[in-house]
Symmetry: C2
C-alpha cells in the first residue's frame, strides 16, 4: 500500500462501508443506474440490478485528464480525415476482408452503396478515445510526476460508443456523495475525503444529443413529397439489457428546447419492414403505430447496432445497405465505421502516417499517446513483430481487429499463434503493454458478485463529436463531448463493466 | 362500454400495446420508477421492479381537479386549527385510546412531552386529501356534468404521506409519451390521443422539499454550544422497499440552490443511539461516520415512520418521545399526527363542527366534499348508525380508525360487527359509499401480475404543506403542493399501488 495513493493510507470500517453502500444502492435505483435482468423480462415486468460502481472516486492526474480532453478535437480531425481518404483506409484494412467477416460486410456494403451513388455529403460521428496511465519508469512511486507518467491510448472507437449515460450518472452520484459529506469519515485524514470541486462534471449525454440535433438541423426540411416531418432514427439491438445507457440520449433529444423527434428501430428485419427508400434516396420511416398516412423522413441515422459480425446475415446486410444508401446523415457512415478496426490504430503508428492527415505539431501530440504496435503480416514491421514473438512477447498484447474487449490475448501469445492458421494472422496486431505506474490507487469496487478492495487501474475514455462534409472543407462541428471512466482491479486484464469486469467510476482530479 | 368515456370507444391492438409497454418499461427503469425486491437485497446488490402504472392517462373533470387544488389551503387551515385545539381533538379521539394501541401511544407520548414543557412553537405538516368522483344520479351517463358529478373525500392523511415521487414520475412519463406521439395510433380517433397540454404538471417533490427548507430556515442558527451546523433529520422505516418514493425529497433538499443538509435515520434503536437532547432540548444528531467532534443540531424532524402500532414498543415510544420533546420543528408534531384518525374525519361531519374552525363560507366548501359518516358509539349519531346496520348497510363501508387501506370492511358489515367485541366498536366509523358515476373510463393497467383492460375508478390526492405557530397567528406557510392520482379496476375495493392494488396514473383533464 503506497502512501502516495489517495485512499492508500486509509480503509473505512465495515460499518462505514455499509453506510455508503446503502446510499449508493438507493441512488442507483432512483436514477436508473441499472441493467435489465433480461431473463426476468415479460411484456409487463422486468427486474433490474445496479451497474457496477466504485465506492470512491479514483485519483487521476488532472493535467493528463485535461490533456486528453484538449487533444480530442485533433483526434476528431484525424479520424474525419481517415474517413475522407478511402484509399488509405482500404490499404490499412484490406487484409481483414479475407479474415474478418465484419470487415468483408462493411467494405461490401460500402462498394454497393458507392456504386448506387452517394447522395449525402454530410457525415456525423461520435468517437471515444480510451487511455490508461503509462510510466516510463516502472519503479516510479509517483503517478503525478509527469516526467514519468503519461497517457497512452488503449483503443479508438468510432462506432456505437457506449457508456456515456452511465458515466454521467456515476459522476453525478459521486458528486452527490461528496457534497453530502458521505465520505467525511471521522477517522479519515482530510486528503482522503474527496471534495465535489475535485470531481469533473460530465455533460456527455447532452453533448451527444447536441451533435445529433445539429446533424438533424443540417439535414433541413423534408425533401420527399410523401413526408411532412423529419426525425432521428435510432438503430438499436433487440433485447438489449443496457437500455439505461441508450435511452437518455433519446430522452435528451425529445426534451431539448427545440424538440428533436427521435424514433427507435431494432436492427435487422424491422429496418426492412418499416423503412423505404424513395427514388431520390430519402429514407422514409413508417412506424406502424403512427397516426396519419404520412411517413417520417429520416434526417439522421444513429447507430447503436451492427457492430458484430453475426448481425450481417442477409437481412442485416440489406438493412445496413438501405441506411447507407439513403440521403439520411449517418452517425456514423460506413467509412468511419471501418476506421474502428485496430489495424487502423496500428497503421497510424507507421512513420509518416499521422503527417498524411495532420500538421506536424498536431501529429506530435497524437503520437505521444501511442505505444508500439505491429502488424502480423509480411511487411518489414510484421517481421519485427515476429522477432519480438521469438525473443520475448511478455510486454505485448495480441489484439484481434474487432471492437471491444474479449478478443485479446494477454499471455501465451506464441502458443496461441501456433494454433492459429497463418492466413488468419493478419487479423491481429501486436501491441506494447501499457505500463501502469507502480503506485496504484486502492479502491473498493461494488458488483453483483461482491464488494472487494484492492489495487486498481482506470481507463479514461474521451468522447468526441463531429459533423463534416466529405469534401475537404473545415469540419462543421468538432468538439470534445465529455468522458467515461472505468476502474478494475490491477490483476484483471479485461475491462467491460456491463459484462461484470470493472466498474464505472469518477476521476478525482489532483 | 360507454361512448362518453375517453378511451371507451377504442382499444389499441396487441402490437400497439406492446410498443407502449416497451417504452413504459424503459422509461421506468431510466427514471427509477421502481420498487426494491427486498428478498433479493444483499449489501452490494438488489433487484428492482417497475411500480404499477396505467397505460394511458385517465380522464378526470378539469373543474373538479382545480376545485380540489383550490380548497386545499382551506383544508390546511382546518387541520392546523385542529392541531391547535387539543380539547376538541381529545374529545374526538379519546375513545380510541382504549381500543387502538397506536392512539394510546400517541396520546401518551403527547402527555409526557407536554409535561416536560413545549420548547418549539412552530410546527410543520404535509397533508394529503384523497377524493373520488361521486354522482348524485347513479344512472347518469355523464361524468362531466357537474350538476350530477362532484368530489367526495375518501380520507384525509396528516402523517407520513407517501406517493409524491411516484406521482411526479408518472406525470412526467405520460407527458413524455404524449409529447413523443406514442399514443397517436393510426386507427385511434383524435379525442383518444391525449395531448400533453391536457396533462397537469406535478411539482410536488419540489414543493415538499420547499416546505422542509422553509421550516429549516425558520429554525434558524444552531442554539446549542456543541453544534455548528443544522440539518433536517429524515426518519424512515428500516428495510423499506419504497426508497424511490422517499429519496427524491432528500435529493431535492440537498440540490436546492441553498443546499439543505438532510440525514436519514431509521426509526427505533438508531434514534436512541445516534441522537441526544441537550439540557435546553436541542436535538443533536451524532452520525457515526461524520468527521469532526461536532454533532449536527436537528432543525426539522421529517417523519416517514411511526405510523404503525407495532412500531411503538418500548424503544419506539422512547424514540418518538425524544423527537417530540425536542426543540426541532416536527413535520408533523404529534397532535397533527393524531388528527389523521378517521374518527376526526367523522367528527368533522357533525353539525357545527366545521364552523368551530372555519368561516361559514369556507366550512360550506369543505362540507360539500363530505359523505355521511357515523360513529359506532352510544351517541345519537351512533344510534343512527345502528339503525342503518339493521336496515341496509350495503351503501356503507366500515372503516377502522387507522391509516391507509387494508382495514376496511366493504361487505357483510353486520356479520363482521357481530363477531367483534362491542368494546372495540368505537374504533370504527360507518361511512357512506362514494357512488362512482356510471360511465367509468376504460383503461389498461400494468402490474407485475399482468396487463389488464377494464372499467376503472380513480382517486385524486391533493398534497398540502403548512407551517404555523401553535398560537393563533396566521399560518407562516400554506400551499397546495401538487397531487397524486391512482387508478384501479372498478371491481376492486382496495387502493394501494405498492401492495399491488391499482396503479399510478395521470389525470387527463377535460
Amino acid at each position: 500500500m503506497s502512501s502516495q495513493s489517495s485512499q492508500g493510507g486509509f480503509l473505512p470500517s465495515e460499518e462505514q462501508v455499509l453506510a455508503l453502500l446503502s446510499q449508493i444502492q438507493d441512488w442507483q435505483i432512483n436514477h436508473g443506474f441499472l441493467l435489465k435482468l433480461l431473463e426476468s423480462e415479460t411484456e409487463h415486468d422486468v427486474l433490474s440490478y445496479p451497474v457496477g460502481v466504485s465506492l470512491y472516486p479514483t485519483p487521476f492526474p488532472k493535467s493528463l485528464f485535461n490533456r486528453a480532453m484538449d487533444i480530442q478535437s485533433i483526434y476528431n480531425e484525424l479520424y474525419v480525415a481517415i474517413a475522407r481518404d478511402e484509399t488509405w483506409l482500404y490499404d490499412a484494412t484490406k487484409e481483414l476482408i479475407h479474415t474478418e467477416s465484419l470487415a468483408n460486410a462493411l467494405w461490401g456494403i460500402h462498394e454497393q452503396s458507392k456504386a448506387a451513388g452517394a447522395v449525402q455529403e454530410i457525415s456525423a460521428a461520435i468517437f471515444r478515445s480510451d487511455y490508461m496511465l503509462h510510466t516510463t519508469n516502472t519503479k516510479s512511486p509517483d503517478p503525478l510526476d509527469e516526467s514519468e507518467t503519461t497517457l497512452k491510448q488503449v483503443e479508438f472507437n468510432t462506432f456505437s460508443c457506449a457508456g456515456a449515460s452511465h458515466a454521467k450518472r456515476v459522476a453525478d452520484m459521486h458528486r452527490y456523495m461528496a457534497r453530502t459529506g458521505a465520505y467525511n469519515f471521522k477517522d479519515a485524514p482530510e486528503h482522503h475525503r474527496p471534495r465535489a470541486s475535485s470531481l469533473p462534471r460530465n455533460d456527455n449525454v447532452e453533448s451527444l444529443a447536441s451533435l445529433l440535433a445539429t446533424a438533424h438541423a443540417a439535414y433541413g426540411a423534408p425533401k420527399s413529397q410523401a413526408s411532412k416531418q423529419t426525425a432521428v432514427l435510432y438503430i438499436v439491438q433487440p433485447y438489449n439489457f443496457n437500455v439505461a445507457d441508450e435511452r437518455p440520449i433519446e430522452y435528451a433529444l425529445w426534451e431539448r428546447e427545440e424538440s428533436v423527434p427521435t424514433y427507435r428501430l431494432d436492427w435487422g428485419e424491422d429496418i426492412i419492414q418499416y423503412t423505404t427508400l424513395t427514388e431520390t434516396k430519402e429514407l422514409l420511416f413508417h412506424p406502424p403505430w403512427l397516426a396519419g398516412p404520412d411517413p417520417v423522413e429520416v434526417s439522421v441515422v444513429y447507430m447503436r447496432a451492427g457492430y458484430e459480425a453475426h448481425e450481417y446475415n442477409h437481412i442485416g446486410w440489406q438493412a445496413r445497405l438501405r441506411l447507407e444508401q439513403s440521403s439520411a446523415i449517418k452517425c456514423p457512415s460506413i467509412l468511419s465505421h471501418i476506421s474502428t478496426f485496430k489495424k487502423v490504430q496500428q497503421a497510424l503508428t507507421a512513420p509518416g502516417a499521422l503527417e498524411r492527415f495532420l500538421s506536424p505539431d498536431k501529429a506530435a501530440l497524437i503520437r505521444k499517446t501511442f505505444v508500439m504496435m505491429y502488424p502480423l503480416d509480411q511487411s518489414a514491421e510484421g517481421l519485427r513483430a515476429r522477432k519480438i514473438l521469438h525473443d520475448d512477447s511478455s510486454n505485448y498484447i495480441l489484439k484481434r481487429s474487432l471492437e471491444g474487449g474479449g478478443n485479446n490475448i494477454y499471455d501465451g501469445i506464441p502458443d496461441f499463434l501456433a494454433s492459429t492458421p497463418p492466413g488468419a494472422w493478419p487479423s491481429y496486431i501486436l501491441m506494447e503493454r501499457i505500463k501502469t505506474p507502480a503506485s496504484m490507487p486502492r479502491n473498493i469496487l461494488i458488483s453483483r458478485t461482491g464488494v472487494e478492495e484492492g489495487l486498481t487501474v482506470s481507463e479514461l475514455g474521451i468522447l468526441g463529436t463531429c459533423l463534416w462534409k466529405q469534401t475537404k472543407e473545415p469540419l462543421l462541428h468538432n468538439t470534445c463531448a465529455g468522458w467515461t471512466f472505468k476502474t478494475k482491479f490491477a490483476d484483471v486484464d479485461e475491462m467491460s463493466v456491463v459484462k461484470g469486469y470493472g466498474c464505472f467510476d469518477t476521476p478525482l482530479l489532483e
